[in-house]
């Protein structure tokens, strides 16, 4: 896979998406944690998220991604499913408009797409960009938000209910590509409702989560990269 600046950026957002998807059940009861009146502190906000996520071990959720890009005439709609199982399993499956699978297992990354038809496997130890992926994932799902605060400033979005605004800090490698990320929680605050990514160039990506299931056993087929597994 191409080791580009952009590739690093998607990893950051991906981890944000996943973190939002593993909201803790009962977070609705913790209305105090995301109340504008309580605090504007990034650390407080993320520490609350950390508490919420620390009890979640498995996530299986569908997603719909709407990409508005200047270089494409029409909006692109991508549908798929992602799965996370602690401590070190992650899967991203795209079903429409093309089929694509990405699996992270421990220190190994595998991917497949129907355009090339080829399965690619690489060791994260030898690929620094994707090693960052794995590390960030572990940071989010292990509840280690200290690493996240190094790259992003987080605050409550005053303009939208149940939303957190993340902006890259000046030392972050994400600042050249991302203007801001808005994470919106569902009304019951058990998981994310959507994520909106606004790029510096004007392109946007809106990701909406559907049919999210938490802490249930995930079929082994979810961790297979080849298409027969889906």
């Amino acid at each position: 896979m191409k080791t580009s600046q952009s590739a690093i950026l998607w990893i950051v957002v991906l981890t944000i998406l996943l973190a939002g998807g593993i909201a803790r059940p009962g977070i609705a009861e913790q209305t105090n944690t995301i109340s504008p009146s309580n605090t504007n502190s990034s650390a407080f906000v993320l520490s609350e998220l950390q508490k919420a996520l620390s009890s979640t071990t498995n996530v299986l959720t569908g997603f719909v991604q709407e990409k508005q890009m200047a270089m494409l005439k029409n909006k692109v709609i991508i549908k798929g499913q992602l799965a996370v199982q602690q401590p070190d399993l992650f899967a991203w499956h795209v079903s429409e408009p093309i089929r694509y699978n990405l699996i992270l297992k421990g220190s190994t990354l595998q991917q497949w797409d129907e355009v090339t038809g080829k399965e690619q496997k690489m060791s994260l130890a030898n690929n620094p960009v994707f090693e960052i992926v794995s590390r960030q994932l572990k940071a989010w799902f292990g509840g280690q938000f200290e690493a996240l605060l190094k790259d992003f400033d987080a605050r409550i979005d005053q303009a939208a209910e149940r939303s957190i605004l993340l902006t890259p800090n000046k030392d972050s490698f994400a600042r050249k590509a991302i203007r801001q990320v808005v994470i919106t929680f569902r009304e019951d605050k058990r998981y994310l409702e959507r994520i909106l990514i606004e790029e510096t160039g004007g392109d946007t990506t809106l990701m909406t989560f559907t049919n999210t299931v938490l802490n249930t056993a995930i079929e082994p087929v979810a961790w297979e990269v080849k298409p027969n597994g889906r």
Binding site: M1, K2, T3, S4, Q5, S6, A7, I8, L9, W10, I11, V13, L14, K67, M69, A70, M71, L72, K73, N74, V76, I78, W92, V94, P97, I98, Y100, L102, D113, V115, T116, A125, N126, P128, E131, I132, K150, D171, S172, F173, R175, K176, A177, I178, I197, E199, G201, D203, T205
Partner: protein
Amino acid sequence: MADSRLLRFFPVLERRRGLVTGILVAVLVLSGLSLFNLQFDNTLDLMLPSKSPAQRMITFLRTANFSNKVIVSLENRDPAGTKDKLFEAADRIAESLKPPIVTKVTKGMSAPDLMSDAGFFLRYAPQMLRSNDLAVIDSMMTEDGIKAILKQRYSQLLKPEGMFMGRAIQSDPLDINRVILDRLQELSSSLGYAVKVENGHFVSHDGQHVMLIAETTASMTDVSEARQLLKYMADRTRDIPAGIHVSLISGYAHTVSNDATITRDLGVIFTIASIGFILIFVFFFKDIRGLLIFLVPVLSVIIAMALTSLVYHRISYFVLAFGPVIAGIADDYGIATFVAVLYGRRRSEAVAGVAKPVTVGAIATMGIFFAFFFSHIPGYHQLGFFCVTSILLSLFLALFVLPLWLKEHDKSAPPPAPPDEGRRKSRILVWVFFIFLAVSGILACRIRFESDVTKLDGTSRAILDTEKEFQRVWGTGERSEAILAVAGTNYEQVIAANDDLYVKTREIVGTNGLASFASVWPCSRVRSENAQRWVDFWKSGRETHLRTLLAEEGASLDFTANAFDPFFARLYENSNVVDEPVSNSVFSSLKERFIQSTPEGFQTLSFFPDKPGTVIAVSGVISNRTDAFIVSRTALSSILSTTFSGEIVRTSCFGILFIMLTSFLFLRTVKSTLVALVPALAGVVGLLGLMAVMGQPLNVSNLISGIVVFGLCIDFGIHVLHACQHHAGKATRTAITLAATTTLMGAGVLLFARHPALYSVGLTLVAGVGFGYIAAMWVVPALYALFWKNNPEEHS
């Protein structure tokens, strides 16, 4: 029998004993004082043939720019410890390391700077892409080709990474930058360390280690500078928080440790040898004057070392280590003189009686060392000069100075001759000898040559273990690379030559197997040519053609008509040749790895797989060039084997020729010469067989010992045969036994050495001299009994 010239000369010396002694003391004092300024070389360079590929490789591996760095590895050993604590400790150490000893400390890079700096190469891609790269681009510009590429780019947009691929795809629809990025990736992976950058620091993959790289001006071959540097680093890394462990990795540790090992070994060797010699001489002869025998080689060695340093300036440690060996050899002459005087009547007669065999033996031994001058190995020249001078001086002292201080005996009867060996017993002994030769010879065929010179490194176990652990944490595994080096005095010429070889070598190794700076930064001439070629390529109609193809094929995949305008807008940017971006961290890191300053100018390094077939093929590319050479660890083994085989054969031939000529001149018949050679043959064949049984290999340091064994043992053969022929009997046996004992002791003390090179020399000498002595004492008399006993007229 008594030499009449000596009989006339000796009384002159006896009358001037004081003057002779005074001159000797004066020379000794001067020599002793000069030894305080002695400079030693503890590398193996002097033991390799001058200007040979082997020496060039070994010197290169030692002095390449990785050698002026000290790596500081901090490890978090506290389970509760945080990475921030590790970073703080690393920052504190980095701040404390300052000039003049440490000139630069690299602790990492900032990720945004890293990406920005890597982007430089992408902006100037037209200057890095060569004609074959443009040919590949050209081949893509068909309907089907563009369709396939755009389909791939579209699928990338849909993948997780695609969220931020938009701009990259717009400005590079053909993915031309992948070529440059792949090359950067290839170069980066040959950087030697497996690091990731975290919070501006180099961190190991296990996340528990942080690395600092300190550059220094200290010379790695200078022991005092190396010691000073290591102390400085140890002081600066002492005050660190609990739970953090610091390791220092550098070639300087090897220099200091080797020096300490050799110094310790020499101290032990000389102490044991001195005590041993003194004890033997005093208790054997029960005469305090026996100490004078010991003084003969000691004084000779001191004076010879002073003379050697005058001629050669930097002396190899191996030469000094041969001091006790020479003492063990050279005391033979003093022993012969002492015993002769002990059993003789008058000093002059006794000395005259042994002068001839002693002198012939000395000449024969010197012949071996004289042959070293025909070698191409500088260390052997030093050894030859030192040994020849020592032996010559010992001979002079033994014959003309030592007797002046020995007590004459007015009445003494010659000791009885030992009983003759019976013919039957002699025949048995000779057969046993031949069987021994046959068995040893067969075993000797199994002996191997150990060309891995790192096994002769005297560095301590602790340092080697630390380095092994460091490689486990930071190393890139077992990847083995050969190095293609291009050297010269002018920077641009060296870069241009490297470019030229890059193109030719790439055809053999393939682009993916060759890591060369030329792949991302050619010389200015080539960059200018590349840039012009890029402009010509697109302006010849391809720009228009590509616009059309992208619009047509892109439309079917929902790309807008102007989706790829950013690519065309910057198509002719950055075609002007620019200077090296000295402030670019990625460029600087790569340049540091691939281009070095040398005392003669500059050299570039390119890395390729160290496989025999590849090395041979690349060697063919540089066969007619004097500015390029290959460093290959796998080839080094065979090069050393071939090199040393040639050296040993040449030196051995000269040495054996000298010895046989000398022996023949003394012994007068071929038969006598051959019999005198028996102990030498037993010594060499026996030691090779024993080493094969023990699994001990020959190596660059002990290889010469075999030749020395030959020279020592023939001395025994000459003396014993002479004694048999002249019925010298007990006196000679006593002298030879004592001589062998002291030679064995002189060599045997090397077995106490920790340095593997010195130990292997000791083992070969002890084994060889031991076998030679046994053959001299039993087989030579047996052969004499068989071939001469009934033919007295054959005696010389």
